[in-house]
């Protein structure tokens, strides 16, 4: 590529270091930024397949999605998987508890950025911001009611390598009133964040919000 609308501040085949970045050092429900360690695909180089891969064209402005757009086919399939697992709530597990599974997985894997986004969603949809904050502050063993305990335990066990989920976790979810589709939603919510955490953690890093 010889034309680009942006100045060539970084060569595309080099890592981007953010020496003076204000890095968050704790889990938070605050809105964090995210900066890439590799050059996102410049919008001037987008072709039809890149726009298709973004699913929502507005995501070209996000450095995370514009970086993933370098392989647009897997990005598109990833995004459609993500949206269906979390937003398709006609039946199955309530949105709040899908977000709880995402938050617990992110807390376990150590993804401060993913945990911030999905803990906000979990708090918003459950109206249980204090419980969510305790999960962030104290970790996945934090005191929770028995239904949330079962969802967090199953998510954490599934997120471990090798996978540590057992029939006992499934039985506990059933005992808490989850039907098979709802249990499958916990599995998908946690499994998807095993995917998302690894992209977010390894292709860039979070930035603390500007101090007010």
């Amino acid at each position: 590529m010889t034309t680009s609308s942006t100045p060539a501040a970084v060569a595309p085949e080099a890592v981007i270091e953010h020496a003076d970045l204000d890095r968050p050092v704790a889990f938070t429900q605050a809105e964090l930024g995210w900066v890439p360690w590799l050059e996102p695909l410049p919008e001037s180089e987008f072709e039809e397949r890149h726009w298709t891969g973004l699913v929502d064209a507005s995501r070209a402005k996000s450095p995370y999605f514009a970086l993933l757009a370098r392989d647009p086919e897997i990005l598109g399939a990833r995004t459609r998987t993500d949206k269906d697992i979390f937003y398709n709530t006609k039946e199955g597990l309530p949105r709040a508890e899908r977000e709880l599974a995402a938050t617990a997985t992110s807390r376990h894997n150590g993804c401060i950025f993913c945990a911030s986004v999905h803990s906000r969603f979990a708090s918003h949809h459950s109206k249980r911001g204090d419980d969510v904050q305790r999960l962030l502050d104290e970790g996945t063993d934090a005191a929770l009611d028995s239904r949330w305990r079962a969802i967090v335990d199953a998510s954490v066990a599934l997120a471990s390598t090798p996978v540590a989920l057992t029939a006992g976790h499934i039985a506990e979810l059933r005992a808490q009133g989850l039907d098979p589709l709802e249990i499958a939603d916990v599995i998908h919510g946690s499994a998807f964040f095993s995917w998302a955490n690894r992209l977010m953690l390894s292709l860039g890093e979070p930035e603390a919000p500007a101090t007010p």
């Binding site: 360690w37 150590g110 390598t161």
Partner: protein
């Protein structure tokens, strides 16, 4: 309602039969089911493969599945690698890969996630664990590119919180382009999803 139409790898790994409980459960999430398969297709039979070869994709996949020690998935990718490496079109150097990858799996297996957080209040949660790298005397068999990919895959699987620009620089130095790194990262990360969907649904069946 039964919806198994084209081959679906997750169904295959679960041994799902039309009309079974898991088939019906997955049929209630048709978009999730279709896009899990579309993700697999995009990574393993890509329309635009770029500069990441089929053998490289399967060697990394076999390694990641082996690290999870999750029987059906591990066997599936080991067999895929075996046939790709033995295919007439495969490079002569690919013949030794299935055995070489199996050796690395045995050396690299551990339990995670672990690793260090950015210095601060979370440092009390830092946990030590294996910082695996392909041994120098085995890097010749795997080659520079694949050795770097396995090092990185291990980081992503077990201690993703320790990812760093330096880890990406190591891939660039080994000949992975920026776009190749995106593909590699998606491949490893997707497999951690696919393996867990199979492991989870298996317990439901």
């Amino acid at each position: 309602m039964t919806t198994i139409t084209p081959p679906d790898v997750i169904d295959e790994l679960l041994g799902v039969t039309p009309g079974s409980a898991i088939d019906e459960l997955r049929a209630r999430r048709p978009v999730t089911r279709a896009n899990a398969q579309a993700s697999y297709d995009a990574l393993f039979t890509p329309e635009h493969p770029g500069t990441v070869s089929a053998v490289e994709r399967l060697a990394v996949a076999a390694f990641v599945a082996g690290l999870h020690a999750s029987a059906p998935t591990e066997r599936y990718y080991a067999e895929q690698l075996l046939s790709a490496a033995a295919a007439p079109v495969a490079d002569e150097s690919a013949r030794a890969l299935p055995q070489a990858v199996a050796t690395e799996i045995a050396a690299a297996r551990t339990s995670g996630p672990y690793g260090a957080y950015p210095a601060g209040p979370l440092s009390v949660e830092d946990t030590e664990g294996l910082r695996y790298r392909v041994a120098p005397d085995r890097r010749d068999v795997l080659g520079v590119r694949l050795s770097a990919a396995l090092d990185h895959a291990h980081l992503l699987v077990f201690r993703p919180r320790e990812a760093s620009p330096a880890a990406l620089q190591a891939l660039l130095d080994a000949g992975w382009s920026t776009s190749d790194i995106v593909t590699l990262s998606q491949l490893v990360a997707f497999l951690t999803f696919q393996i867990r969907v199979v492991a989870g649904l298996e317990l439901l069946s």
